[in-house]
């Protein structure tokens, strides 16, 4: 994922519903960050966590991670539509399909990627905001940025199979809330200033 490149065209959203494992249902969310002030959008696909929170909180053990690290849609016979995963996922990925009483999520187009093809979204994305390939290829193609796959949510550190491209110069993966408060920061003051400068 390279949000800096996203143009909000929704080719990924439209192509997601063409994926043979969940035809007719798009499992990508593409959102404006704040349309009144910017056209910036971010496509949110599942990052396929190494230790998926969705699976950890599932009381029915319905969410499986394949041997090659793909976190699947809930198993129909097991899913009890309790919404635990929807609430727990720090990235907001799982969606409850109330018609099927089934949690559905991106499975990295398992029908395609398990046989060496690319996922639909990353195939069609015209701006390269979603891209599928190897670390060596992306390093060569995108010298301005670097991939990260470690995200911090409070005390929880999450590592993911899908990587996000961030600018080289940004040293941290998270911002501590106290940096923005009128008290001694525990986070990285410098980075925060940069972010705020960009905003204004």
């Amino acid at each position: 994922m390279d949000p800096n490149r996203c143009i909000g065209c929704q080719a990924c959203v439209q192509a997601c519903s063409e994926c043979d494992t969940h035809k007719g249902h798009s499992l990508i969310q593409l959102q404006y960050i704040d349309r009144p002030i910017s056209v910036q959008t971010v496509p949110v696909v599942c990052l396929h966590c190494d230790s998926p929170t969705c699976a950890e909180v599932c009381p029915a053990d319905a969410i499986k991670r394949t041997g090659d690290g793909v976190v699947q849609t809930a198993r129909k016979p097991r899913c009890i539509a309790c919404n635990n995963c929807v609430i727990a996922c720090p990235f907001g990925i799982p969606k409850m399909n109330t018609e099927f009483e089934l949690m559905m999520k991106c499975d990295l187009c398992y029908d395609r990627t398990s046989v060496g093809s690319k996922p639909m979204c990353a195939s069609v994305c015209p701006s390269g905001a979603l891209w599928f390939g190897t670390r060596a290829e992306i390093d060569k193609l995108r010298p301005r940025s670097r991939p990260i796959n470690k995200f911090q949510f409070g005390q929880q550190t999450i590592t993911t199979k899908v990587w996000m491209m961030v600018p080289h110069e940004s040293p941290a993966n998270h911002i501590d809330v106290t940096s923005a408060m009128d008290e001694e920061p525990t986070g990285r003051q410098g980075l925060l200033e940069e972010v705020f400068d960009e905003d204004h």
Binding site: I7, C9, K23, V124, P126, R144
Partner: protein, 740 residues
């Protein structure tokens, strides 16, 4: 009289637009297609490669075509969902005749009866009022074979001078400017030259929404270190992360180019060798921009002086660059001047005709390039020949086997055709691949003119809003139901391959035209049995002149993933990059790389004039129009594809909060927008991404949502392109409309 046979609501209820969604085998998991057909998207000028999944004579989905080099599998949302236009409930499967007594306004008729009726009416009108009383309007989404046939049909069969096409709303300013400066009308460089340019300059192009795949080329250039300059009244997605964003006031682009050239000269950021050896006219252009100081440029363009200086320095100091422009500068009553201004700063830099030194205009329609080369344009014969040039007339007449004296001379542009209908000079009309009631400006005139026609026949696969007026409608073919070539954004000729057969009584468009030629009693020259036969004649007709296709074959296209014209012989690989040092062309004959007898490019003196209708106290806000990514042109296809309509369901009136505050408008509130022509009501979208003196509305919708009811029919004097990008409007709250 080609008035509406019924009220618009009845027509829409019967003929659409209705929305198609995935259903049946298109949504079933595990459906195996019978075949995958490698072809191209039916929408914009980029012509992305795509594979269509076919089962049971239906396109049931798509598969990315990773090997096609231009897009490598990438698609925009329109390309992804384009297959839903097939097997659509609105599809016309039979010929229709106007029938006010029918509950839908039309009745079905037999195809042969329709051809007989049409032929009879054409003969009657031409006998009674003269050949020029019957006009043709064609389109640039057709294959090149079809566009060639349309031009031939007008000139050879109907012998009318009045044919023009919807590229008149699209590529004509770019085309005219390119011909004046370079002697040829084609993007000068392949898109791969964008990726390693030091500076990418984008003027008047919402690349991300109108040419989405081009975004990846621009982003790749940035990865490689390029600086991106975007000139636009709105911060579009391509402008958001640009190194330099210049918020030009709509209609003032030429002033910016004057200001940039002024600073290039002042700072000696010029390629003197190139100017000296490969151009003429620099001194006059230099004198012309002397008074365009940064201060004056800033005053006229509404861009800050410091930004103008930064832009000039970025452009001036670059060693390699790519300049692109699109309708933003071309849709203007001085569109050709804007294009020439852009070319002047390219020529002064000397950065053209070399790797990573490029210039290109971004084609809008699928065959926006090929559709303007081979003779459906009012003033043109095949190969980009001139219809009023005696030698050109003689050559084409010899190919067609007719007396050159019988070839009609230049006609008039598409809008002027409607003015002539309005004045009673043209009595009959045939249209194909064109929906002028939605796409032409000041469309009230178009509706009025259509009502005055004695006979109007429309060929289309859906009953578009213009075709509502038709006396007879013939069911034409979708892109995937026929084969032929188109020429994409880079000048690359590529091949559309047939995926499914025409359903019901629909016919390939070229067969329909030939059936009419036979019907009017002049079938000579219209007895082709395949697109390949038409293409082979087109190759001969284009031979020896600028747009030379003579060395292109269907097989060579398949083998090479397309062939860039000019391609003058069988062993020629095509010409991806124009104007390379030492290159040969049929005009310069070795004298130089540009298409003039001396081989030199032309600097052209350009003049700044404000838009025809500038703002004033009465109409104080600038209206500009454009596209959204999920819709295409007049929406005949895309307003029928459910997932695309859901993505952006209705046109919004985009405005800056500062403007909204002045009137007290809130986001989402209905606002009346009114010009001197008409008014419509749209919901406000209040965003900081547009100039506070300008409102923006996309133009894809019909009826009460059609912004072209308000736009002005002012046209460029040379190219005749309409001024869609700037007219004056006023705004008011819907609630006070009655009292005001």
């Amino acid at each position: 009289m080609s008035t509406l046979p019924s009220d618009p609501k009845t027509l829409i209820d019967a003929y659409g637009p209705h929305l198609a969604f995935m259903s049946g085998e298109r949504v079933d998991t595990g459906t195996e297609p019978e075949k995958l057909v490698k072809t191209h998207c039916c929408f914009c000028g980029q012509q992305c490669g795509i594979q269509l999944k076919v089962k049971g004579n239906e396109v049931i989905g798509f598969e990315p075509w990773y090997d096609f080099p231009f897009n490598k599998g990438m698609l925009c949302p329109k390309g992804v969902k384009r297959y839903l236009q097939g097997s659509h409930p609105d599809r016309l499967l039979k010929a229709l005749r106007r029938d006010p007594s029918s509950p839908t306004g039309f009745s079905e008729m037999r195809y042969d009866e329709a051809i007989a009726r049409i032929s009879g009416e054409i003969n009657r009108i031409q006998t009674e009022y003269g050949n020029d009383a019957f006009a043709l309007l064609s389109g640039a989404s057709l294959t090149t074979e079809k566009t060639y046939l349309m031009g031939k049909f007008a000139r050879m069969c109907l012998r009318t001078r009045y044919i023009d096409y919807n590229g008149r709303l699209c590529m004509v300013s770019a085309g005219a400017g390119n011909k004046k400066a370079f002697g040829i009308d084609r993007a000068a460089n392949p898109w791969s030259d964008i990726q390693n340019a030091e500076v990418v300059w984008i003027s008047g192009s919402n690349v991300a929404e109108c040419a989405p795949i081009t975004t990846n080329y621009v982003w790749q250039a940035r990865e490689n270190g390029a600086k991106i300059v975007v000139v636009d009244p709105r911060i579009t997605p391509i402008a958001r992360t640009a190194n330099l964003y210049l918020p030009v006031k709509p209609g003032r682009d030429i002033a910016l180019f004057h200001g940039i050239l002024h600073l290039m000269i002042e700072n000696d950021w010029l390629d003197h060798d190139f100017i000296e050896n490969h151009t003429v006219g620099f001194d006059a252009v230099a004198a012309n921009v002397r008074e365009w100081t940064p201060k004056r440029t800033a005053e006229v363009t509404g861009i800050s002086e410091s930004s103008i200086r930064q832009a000039a320095e970025l452009w001036g100091r670059a060693r390699t660059s790519y300049l692109m422009h699109a309708r933003g500068i071309e849709h203007s009553s001085h569109g050709v001047q804007n294009v020439l201004g852009a070319i002047n700063i390219v020529l002064a830099s000397g950065r053209i005709g070399r790797p990573n030194c490029g210039y290109g205009t971004i084609t809008g329609q699928a065959n926006g390039q090929g559709g303007r080369e081979h003779g459906q344009k009012a003033e043109q014969l095949p190969g980009m020949r001139d219809i009023d040039d005696p030698e050109h007339r003689a050559y084409i007449a010899s190919v067609w086997g007719m007396n050159p004296d019988d070839l009609p001379h230049a006609g008039v542009d598409a809008y002027e055709i409607f003015r002539k209908i309005d004045r009673g000079e043209i009595k009959g009309l045939l249209s194909i691949c064109f929906n002028p009631k939605v796409s032409l400006p000041d469309s009230g005139l178009v509706a009025r003119a259509l009502d005055k026609l004695e006979f109007y026949v429309a060929i289309d696969f859906f009953l578009n809003e213009t075709a509502f007026h038709a006396d007879v409608v013939l069911p034409g073919s979708l892109q995937e139901e026929d084969e032929g070539v188109v020429t994409q954004i880079e000048g690359r000729v590529i091949k559309i391959n047939k995926a499914v057969d025409c359903p019901g009584e629909t016919r390939e468009d070229w067969r329909i035209i030939q059936d009419i030629a036979a019907g009017v009693g002049r079938p000579q020259g219209f007895t082709f049995t395949s697109p390949r036969e038409i293409f082979d004649e087109l190759r001969v007709a284009s031979k020896g002149y600028i747009a030379d296709y003579s060395g292109i074959t269907y097989e060579k296209i398949e083998r090479q993933y397309g062939v860039c014209w000019p391609c003058p012989s069988d062993d020629h690989p095509g010409t991806p990059r124009l104007f390379e040092p030492g290159s040969w062309n049929p005009i310069a004959k070795g004298a130089g790389p540009f298409y003039f007898p001396d081989g030199r490019a032309r600097f052209n003196v350009t003049t700044y004039t404000p838009p025809t209708e500038d703002v004033d106290d009465e109409y104080p806000v600038i209206l500009t129009t454009g596209r959204v990514v999920s819709q295409f042109l007049s929406g005949t296809q895309t307003r029928r594809i459910g997932p695309l309509v859901e993505q952006y369901p209705e046109p919004r009136l985009e405005m800056h909060p500062r403007l909204a505050e002045k009137y007290g408008f809130r986001d989402g509130e209905p606002v009346i927008v009114e010009s001197r022509r008409d008014s419509i009501t749209l919901r406000a979208q209040i965003v900081k991404t547009i100039r506070p003196d300008t409102v923006f509305v996309p133009y894809h919708w019909a009826g009460k949502q059609s912004i072209n009811r308000l736009t002005i029919s002012a046209q460029d004097p040379i190219s005749k392109i309409p001024e869609y990008k700037a007219c004056a409007v006023r705004l008011k709250k819907e609630s006070v409309a009655g009292s005001g």
